[in-house]
Symmetry: C2
Subunit: 258 residues, 2 copies
């Protein structure tokens, strides 16, 4: 019994419809993906050479930059960025898909395509977050390392869908702040502290569940050593994912009436 | 507190040493990775067009073949196949790494490089396993789909390390069967039914833990709906991963004295 993260399938909605319930389900499901990817990434140490621009003498780019850019080219050929939920880090010169275009539901305002804070996410992830949950060292597994490094961007840019559903719920209230380009009011309208606290508690709980050693009764040794520190996951959401998602929401709303 | 799957780091062993304990830890850790990847894959339906050779009219290859081959080229550039734990599906024409070579511990016999059952794994995964844990349908997310499809090969080929540690533990016993090319005796020597049963129970348990909906107290609705059927995971190990790992072990041992 598999469930789908694509809200259109999950909810059976008409192609331009969107509900708070389906958006919420998608956000909750993406928490699992993010925590799985943090746990996978934490198998390896920090692996500094992968992020060091001076390591590959000839190019001036880090292996991370080269790897992500080429991976995005490949994913573009498989049609990844036809899906409005997907936002590339390197937007220039992406190749066309090899496949016929898939009929994704078009629920966002067309200006959504220009909302992209991946530069901010890149800096946050590699400079601030990664050192918090990896050990120092270099195990040489840069390809595996880099393949685990990309789940957070999708989650943050899903803020476009969050903003769209909130806008549709109260278009008059939002339109007034949008016309005034009043970011503070928009941010206040988008902020629900009780929900944010619940999300932070839930992801901490998930990090405990998914990051535990699961052993059979006869193997238990009584030590609980989580694969990623649950408080780091809570902080990831509180300090970065939630604020950056709201930044995407505000960016999206400011262009919503163009 | 991150732990590493690289047994050399995890155990602090000298570069050509290997212990049953470190091999076992790596195998257990890879169970988590496999179950995470199944749960991620199960977010999407079967997505038949990705595996259909006739879908891309011009090429004669499926999108899956093109995608995996190009992804392996990229990973080769990042040095992935320098690690003796990593085995590509498409071995021809892999590019050289862009990076200096990393000093991986050399614990395997040199003939290990020729042990590769990825053709068998490919057919098993796409034809037999995937329909068991995905729903029918097509959500267009072929790139995400294909990126989740590759964790099992690494686990099965880790049988080379399992075989090496078993061989070192009883070289005289194994050498006799190897000289006689006696596959049945080797298979019998490699089989520990009690351990296999424990692995199957443990991965079923892990699928329950990692595949549950983790909710806060005030959200609970009492329904448990696992993201991947735990009995499918147990069957994946019992019917495929364990037997194919032993096939790799036998293949490796047959070349161990060359």
């Amino acid at each position: 019994m598999a469930s789908s993260a694509s809200f259109a399938r999950a909810s059976g909605e008409a192609s331009n419809q969107i509900s708070l319930k389906s958006v919420r389900e998608t956000l909750i499901r993406q928490e699992d993906s993010i925590i799985f990817s943090l746990i996978e990434r934490a198998r390896h140490p920090y692996n500094a050479p992968a992020y060091d621009k001076s390591y590959l003498k000839s190019s001036g780019n880090s292996l991370a930059e080269i790897f992500v850019k080429e991976a995005e080219h490949l994913h573009a050929k498989a049609g990844r960025y036809q899906n409005p939920e997907e936002v590339p880090f390197f937007t220039d010169d992406l190749p066309s898909p090899l496949i016929p275009s898939y009929d994704y539901p078009q629920v966002l305002h067309p200006t959504a395509a220009s909302v992209n804070i991946n530069k901010t996410i890149w800096d946050m992830y590699f400079n601030e977050l990664l050192p918090l949950f990896t050990v120092e060292g270099d195990d040489g597994n840069y390809a595996s390392t880099l393949a685990s490094d990309l789940a957070i961007s999708r989650r943050i840019h899903y803020g476009k869908f969050v903003a769209e559903v909130k806008f549709r719920d109260a278009p008059v209230d939002y339109s007034s702040a949008i016309h005034d380009k009043d970011k503070d009011t928009l941010m206040r309208m988008l902020t629900f502290e009780r929900v944010e606290e619940m999300v932070k508690r839930r992801v901490e709980q998930k990090a405990m569940v998914f990051g535990q050693e699961v052993t059979m009764e006869d193997e238990k040794d009584g030590i609980v050593d989580y694969k990623v520190n649950p408080s780091v996951v809570s902080r990831l959401y509180g300090d970065w994912i939630i604020p950056l998602t709201k930044l995407v929401e505000v960016d999206y709303l400011l262009r919503r009436l163009e």
